[in-house]
């Protein structure tokens, strides 16, 4: 008789318990899962494998406007342009060439345009050994002074190579010196770093470690 009386009570308790649980889930009273901090997707420019600069050879290959390299649109053939210096032997860069930063070498001694450019034919370059090089062949010019770096670049130890490590399966694209270095100011420029890691549970700044006193 007692068992008969208990059944409805147990059922009622179960129903109430499930109803309570259901209400709790539906109202989401635990707030689960906890909302995560929003991490903005990274700028696609960060993912771009292009080099920081484009070489003259790149422009030729891409069939782009090369009018900037038409020296004799302004200069006169057969008349090497004169160079002007201030009192400290610093080259005065004419306003037409204001984009040129004279920053090659650390002591300001590399202050003569015609150390590299050919004064007799401004569309070519001249290393000190008397060769005359086209603008596309600028790596030869760089290598004429920077021998060890040229050797490393030639063997693949310095500089950028994109594409295929296994050249049987595809091309390896070797980048030139001027793809990364500005020839007039070759030091690789600094930049803003891409965003750092966003930890799920950011830690507070670590407190200054306190030297524990010796325990003995």
């Amino acid at each position: 008789m007692q068992a008969r009386n208990r059944t409805p009570m147990v059922l009622t308790i179960l129903v109430v318990a499930f109803a309570g649980l259901a209400a709790a889930f539906l109202s989401d009273s635990w707030g689960y899962p906890a909302p995560r901090a929003i991490i903005p997707p990274v700028d696609r420019a960060i993912l771009d494998p292009a080099t920081v600069r484009r070489s003259y050879a790149d422009l030729v290959r891409a069939k782009e406007d090369l009018s900037d390299f038409d020296c004799y649109a302004c200069h006169e053939k057969g008349h090497p342009p004169p160079l002007r210096y201030d009192g400290n032997q610093k080259l005065i860069v004419p306003p037409e060439h204001a984009d040129v930063v004279m920053g090659h070498g650390t002591h300001g001694r590399n202050n003569n345009c015609f150390n590299c450019h050919n004064e007799n034919n401004l569309t070519t370059l001249q290393p000190r050994d008397g060769r005359e090089l086209k603008l596309e062949e600028s790596t030869q010019l760089c290598g004429s002074c920077h021998g060890p770096t040229y050797r490393d670049w030639d063997s693949g130890a310095h500089g950028r190579i994109n594409g295929y490590w296994n050249t049987k399966l595809g091309p390896a694209v070797k980048k030139d010196c001027v793809n990364c270095h500005n020839p007039h100011s070759p030091r690789f420029p600094g930049r803003k770093p891409a965003p750092g890691p966003h930890p799920l549970h950011p830690v507070a700044e670590p407190a200054q470690a306190v030297e524990a006193p010796p325990t003995h």
Binding site: A19, F25, I39, P41, A157, N162, R191, K192, P195, P197
Partner: protein
């Protein structure tokens, strides 16, 4: 049965069933159910080519269902006569972290919570004490004076402690030197994470989230196919690229050319040149005897 008791019983029954159904809500919201097909799948090394093809089809189907992008999943095997080695030029690295994000984009890591295989340590000049390294730096410009930058990722050891501790052989070293993980075999015990001296392994504590427009559809079974909650992952030298002959993503995006990769068994490869001629100063934590395939070197 009287009319009254029938009504009362049915009302209680209906309420009770509705309540039970509603209280099971979290179960219905669970998405990452392991399919029977995946559950019954054999060990990677025991799969016949036919079975592998079926597995790849299943993965393609699952990825398409979840992301709406039809991927191209391959099972790339190591090449003969190839052993991969990585070298990183500490004189050139400027710490710009482009490699970190190119890796995330290539390898379909979770964006939130964030999983990154590469950590770039900012180290003060004059020490190699890793405890002094900081990977949370956020300066207006890098490189900073007085610091050098040392990216650390999976070192692909010859003697990998992570492989030794795995209780289910879900991670192993392949003959081209890459230590790989079968994400379908991993049980998520995280022993390997504890065993790794380089903090190179990452665990999916929650379901990974990747925006569909950022998913890289070129996938490999042992490489960058999307992971599930509860499995380990780590750098695998981009097997989906390198076993197809390409350079890894982190190398291609490096603006300074600090990263070098290649086949050490080819005496003419740039990596062989570097190890022969440059000042290769170390393998990281050489003293623990893991013998990494990742070398740090200097210019000059």
């Amino acid at each position: 049965m009287s009319r009254r008791s029938f009504l009362r019983t049915s009302a209680v029954l209906a309420t009770g069933l509705a309540a039970v159904a509603a209280s099971l809500k979290p179960l219905f919201e669970m998405e990452d159910f392991t399919s029977a097909e995946q559950f019954m799948q054999k060990y990677y090394k025991e799969l016949t080519p036919d079975e592998m093809a079926k597995v790849l089809k299943r993965i393609e189907r699952e990825v398409e269902k979840q992301y709406g992008v039809r991927p191209h999943v391959r099972d790339l095997k190591p090449m003969d006569g190839v052993e991969f080695v990585y070298a990183l030029n500490l004189s050139r690295c400027i710490g710009c972290r482009k490699c970190v994000h190119a890796c995330v984009a290539e390898n379909n890591q979770s964006r939130n919570p964030e999983i990154q295989y590469i950590r770039v340590l900012k180290m003060p000049h004059g020490t190699f004490d890793l405890e002094k390294g900081d990977h949370n730096y956020d300066t207006a410009q890098v490189p900073e004076k007085g610091f050098f930058y040392m990216p650390v990722q999976c070192q692909q050891c010859h003697n990998p402690p992570c492989v030794k501790v795995c209780p289910v052989n879900a991670t192993w070293q392949e003959k081209d030197g890459i230590t790989v993980i079968d994400y379908d075999w991993c049980i998520g015990c995280r022993y390997c994470e504890a065993a790794c001296p380089y903090w190179a392994r990452r665990f999916n504590f929650t379901k990974p989230s990747i925006p569909a427009d950022r998913l890289n559809p070129e996938m490999a079974y042992l490489g960058n196919r999307p992971r599930k909650q509860g499995v380990m992952e780590k750098c695998h030298f981009c097997v989906q690229r390198t076993r197809a002959g390409r350079y890894p993503a982190c190398l291609e995006v490096c603006p300074t050319g600090s990263r070098k990769f290649g086949n050490i068994l080819d005496p003419d490869s740039e990596i062989s040149q570097i190890l022969r001629t440059k000042r290769v100063f170390m393998q990281l934590k050489e003293d623990v005897g893991t013998n990494p395939r990742f070398f740090y070197y200097f210019d000059v």
